[in-house]
Subunit: 384 residues, 2 copies
């Protein structure tokens, strides 16, 4: 297998983009990535999208998008793995280039979520859970993560305030990200006084409904070296699955798929978790980030709440988590999130992250997951 | 890239399977394929499915299916490309093994289409068209293919009877396939007198709504050689896209994506179309098979109708097309079709096709397409 590099990244402003369609925002992000790479020709395209069928009534998505990007007859693949669709599209693009099948591959992620009502969006997102054992009995994602939060609080003494601190930190970072949906700061008090969604989670514990797209351009590392701009190598890729029903897990507070995916990615990269300088992780709810820092091995089991309270995960902390603002402040167009994480890591490794730049960063990690951890994808990026 | 072989195939009886769920039929097919291969351990899984979101309210599909197959934490990918989802899943599994990323890969295709009303199924299938330029203006797939048929008849003099002969031939073959949804013969008169769907297409010109699944097991060819059973090599893989809106094409009768995908697959295999002994192609409507035989280069432009009339595509003809009964008689669970084509070709190349066996077959080709040809995937299989 060949070494693979990221040579271009693109992302549009995220938010409630009522004046734009799914195809428009995808093409905008893809063109930004191509422009950034200084390339026009691609040989294959991968698109991460969770549910364009339920959100905008459109399947056959990758062909539609290559059509509107003007790239037919290029081979295109739409990849779906709920909220980890973007990370998985990146992994498939990586395998395509690594295999020697294609040289230049565009990987995009997109979701247009605001063209339906709130109830319809909640239903669509609920299809990431096990419909027969969870959805049909009334469970939604805030409810599932609320149970994980309750379990974590009961088992490890994690406090309501520590959950809030995750949101405060990510909004602090997101206030420095001009493309974020909510680029402003919030306080612990604001989180604690916000509307209750599913006890103990309040609205400011939850990532929002977002329209958005992101894209990256991949090519062999040898080709990237000949280009006159900084490139970033994908040093490791790991994926794992777990039961999609939360009730089938041994421990509701432990995200095994993330743990295994990280092990695989680190093994491929020949690195340990301590070697990584910063992390973009899947904070769809505040409790998720706490569980993920534990599953990655950044802290011991049950220590995730304490870690955020002690500032270890802050931008200037020991291991910065979500410098971009995370899903919480940047937004969470579900299929785009995994690709946007890669966009942020590449910008950081190139030293182009402005006010939210992580100092002296040479290794970054992305962790993207579907549902309550039924699937996880981890990538490790290294400055070349 | 490594050579890749198919070492196991499985398919359940197709039809209106009201007593079974999507996860059940997938697991049945997957277990048959694993049993056929004599393997238990897999390293990755690819699932082709068009719209489990709209048909059964379930996304995050590949993780769900690996869970129910008992294969967690194996990495799993759901691939969507409308009706070519199955063929594309096969291609992604092929790339995965060829790259060296995985050794043993399960590729499955599945669709559960009868849990919704006919109107809902027509809507779900319509999401394979360009919703903004086709669907919202009332076009459905029978309507789109009817326009292609009208254009082919006007341009080349293809007759209404020739269209019917495609269905008659495929039911003749399907009558010999015990797993087919409609394993019985029909006549030209029956087709001509059946209910009109979209002029000139009648109900017996259309593939049915089907529940079904199919699966294959892939591994490196070197590993397959050491196994004590006949294996089949994937000699070539090609994919291409075209505009998904029919109105954007230069010629409504010409399926360019199939033409290009076949060129790529033949080039990879180092073969010409004349070398191939038989074909499993995407006859979602009778006119589709006629257009596809032309796009593959089996006959000249406009000669597809004449070819079926002259018996060239019959089981005992010069180049047998759809020995399995095709989508028309075997059924068309959209995401499963591309994988089932591979199952048929492997059975034929192993000499296990019973009454529908193509004589002295050593090379077979599958052609699977999405929408009206917005995407096409072609594979070439060779007995080892």
């Amino acid at each position: 297998m060949r070494d693979v590099a990221v040579v271009g990244v693109g992302m549009t402003k995220w938010g409630e983009l009522w004046e734009k369609s799914l195809r428009t925002i995808f093409v905008e992000a893809a063109l930004l990535a191509l422009e950034d790479a200084g390339l026009d020709r691609i040989e294959a395209m991968y698109v991460g999208c969770m549910s364009s069928g339920l959100f905008v009534g459109q399947e056959h998505l990758a062909s539609l998008l290559s059509d509107y990007l003007g790239k037919n007859p290029v081979p295109t693949v739409r990849v779906e793995s709920a909220c980890s669709s973007g990370g998985l599209a990146l992994r498939q693009g990586f395998i395509d280039v690594a295999s020697g099948m294609s040289d230049v591959v565009l990987v995009g992620g997109v979701e247009k979520m605001t063209d339906v009502t709130g109830c319809e969006a909640t239903y669509a997102l609920g299809t990431a859970a096990d419909q027969e054992y969870e959805g049909y009995h009334g469970l939604t994602f805030p409810g599932l993560y609320a149970m994980m939060a309750k379990a974590h609080m009961a088992k490890y003494g994690t406090t309501r305030e520590q959950l809030a601190m995750v949101a405060v930190k990510n909004h602090e970072n997101g206030s420095k990200n001009p493309l974020a949906q909510f680029p402003f700061k919030i306080t612990v008090e604001a989180v604690l006084n916000s509307v209750l969604v599913a006890d103990p989670l309040r609205i400011l514990d939850c990532s929002p409904i977002t329209d958005g797209a992101a894209a990256v351009i991949l090519c062999p590392a040898d080709m990237a070296k000949k280009m006159k701009k900084p490139a970033v190598k994908i040093a490791g890729s790991g994926q794992a699955t777990d039961t999609i029903a939360l009730s089938s897990r041994k421990d509701m507070t432990w995200i095994e798929s993330t743990h295994l995916a990280a092990e695989k990615a680190l093994s491929m990269a020949g690195r340990k978790i301590e070697d990584i300088d910063f992390f973009e992780v899947h904070d769809c709810f505040t409790i998720a980030e706490i569980c993920v820092t534990e599953a990655l091995g950044l802290v011991g089991k049950g220590r995730g709440g304490k870690a955020v309270e002690e500032g270890l995960t802050s931008l200037s902390g020991k291991f910065p988590v979500n410098p971009s603002g995370g899903l919480k402040a940047k937004g969470h167009p579900v299929g785009a999130t995994g690709v946007a994480q890669a966009v942020e890591v590449v910008k950081q490794l190139r030293g182009e992250a402005g006010a939210r730049q992580v100092k002296a960063a040479s290794l970054g990690l992305t962790q993207n997951m579907g549902g309550t951890g039924g699937s996880s994808v981890v990538h490790i990026f290294e400055a070349m």
